[in-house]
Symmetry: C2
Subunit: 324 residues, 2 copies
């Protein structure tokens, strides 16, 4: 099931945003246009645009004002994915070849830059300096998060705290900002925007933890990419950190991670996946994710009782329990 | 001689901008901060900030309003250099190791993204939607220019027109915009801003052609990187395009370029450099560069006769004749 089917009422407006997204990337021909079209066709959950639109319901809802915010956020997300695929040396995402794989790293670099620049153009049309400021800060934080991820590659000494700090910047912040900006663009009262930010932050954390769990427990068919991608590139996520705390597994896991780091084949990844799946690491990560969902739902508690509040509640459950 | 010594009067204000530039990148610690500091220390001609400040003299000059524009433009330029070094596989720039060489491509990618995001933050503080719009469009065009460059790598059938179209986007536009935004930020009259844009566009074209000539005629000591970098990576610049029109050299040059493309060693590059140096290609490229400088000086003709006009005239001559 497509998660958007949950929200029949959002459908026409999300379709409008999708159209605007296409339009913003279709103005130029050549390789960049092709690469961008390829990305659009790969689709995605469009979580950020959906959150912008739903959050806009807490103010004076205007699709005209919300759509550019939704488009800008999705473009920033798309641009960062293209750059991540270079870093991750990823060949497949969402069941399709990545830009870096279909073309090369150079094309992926400039396609990412181009999409970021298009995001700016979209924001520039908004004439709202607050939105601009909030978004540019979020982008700086995202870059810091990505760099922290690189710095921690194959770093088996990292703590849960290191991990949380990283995913906060890398993922949760942009999702928080999606909710906040939807509210601001619709002139919702500041305390409402602040609560929506808090909701978004917490579902963002839950979302990324869930993503990192799925990379271990998912199937290639479901994920659209082979499981174990994280550990193969050295990204030690929450379930691994928890499992490394288990003394009966720790020694073997450290050896396997060292092996991966030193390029000693793929077998290590399969055994690591098995070790983590059998450990309590998955369960503990799931329980932390559930705590974030709970906090997100608490943040909703203080919001006016409009239908959008229920939708946000449904979204939080969906994201936390999704299997792809 | 440092070209900035020409403009004693600009010095304190440029020093202020340099300081702001450092400040904007120094807020964060870790790898990104280090990479950014490394870049700042490598210096640069700071052409774009200088043009912003001089152009601001045609309106109500205010360092406070001009500095963020100057910083944003230099940041965009720096970010694009970091990404170019990945594409170009460059190890040295301005006599220092590049970020991708000192660290790796992944660090260079996110350092570039981070610097772009910092540029946005700087622009966001400006509250001037026109500036924002103009800059974001220029960034889109820069990306398109970079992609055209990649698409044309080792493409010996390209025309002078292809080359000019590419450097317009890749270089000239951001320089044009530096002049235009300096004028706009100082509330200069629109026709003055338009003339400054035209001036900047033409010196930008001359600047890039000169750069491409220097890559052939310069020495490693002067350039801060080995000559022939362009052709080794497949970037067929104006002097090569002209030389390829010379039937006595064409056959040999085509064979050598094919050899470089197929990775058959560095010897080909040295012979290509010699062939182009001996041909009329350099002279013809110099003459086209001179025509752009002339057009730039014509654009200055219609501007009020303030000292800044003479400075711009000096800058145009300096950029066109520089040997590094």
């Amino acid at each position: 099931m497509n998660w958007l089917d949950l929200y029949v009422e959002l459908k026409p407006d999300l379709a409008f945003v999708e159209n605007e997204l296409e339009r913003s990337l279709q103005t130029d021909r050549g390789l960049l246009g092709e690469a961008a079209a390829h990305l659009l066709k790969a689709g995605g959950k469009r979580v950020r645009p959906a959150l912008v639109l739903v959050s806009g319901r807490f103010g004076r809802y205007s699709l005209e004002r919300l759509a550019p915010v939704a488009v800008a956020l999705e473009l920033i997300h798309m641009g960062s994915l293209v750059h991540d695929d270079v870093i991750d040396d990823a060949d497949v995402r969402r069941g399709r070849l990545t830009v870096k794989s279909k073309w090369d790293n150079r094309v992926a670099m400039y396609t990412g830059d181009y999409i970021f620049a298009k995001a700016l153009m979209t924001i520039a049309e908004l004439d709202n300096p607050d939105i601009h400021r909030i978004l540019s800060r979020a982008m700086v934080q995202m870059c810091l998060g990505e760099m922290e991820q690189i710095r921690h590659f194959f770093e088996t000494g990292q703590t849960v705290r290191d991990y949380l700090k990283r995913i906060r910047r890398k993922t949760a912040l942009l999702i928080a900002v999606s909710c906040q900006l939807g509210a601001l663009a619709a002139d919702a009262p500041p305390p409402v925007a602040a609560r929506l930010y808090r909701y978004g932050y917490n579902i963002g954390m839950a979302f990324q933890i869930r993503d990192d769990i799925l990379d271990i427990t998912g199937t290639e068919e479901r994920l659209g990419k082979p499981p174990g991608s994280d550990i193969r590139q050295g990204n030690i996520t929450l379930p691994y950190i928890y499992s490394l705390q288990d003394e009966t597994r720790r020694g073997r896991m450290l050896a396997l991670i060292r092996g991966l780091r030193d390029g000693e084949g793929e077998d290590g990844a399969a055994e690591l996946l098995r070790l983590v799946r059998e450990s309590g690491g998955i369960r503990r990560a799931e329980s932390l994710s559930a705590r974030y969902v709970e906090k997100a739902r608490e943040a909703l508690g203080g919001l006016p009782d409009v239908p959008a509040r229920r939708w946000l509640s449904d979204i939080s459950l969906f994201l936390a329990n999704r299997d792809h």
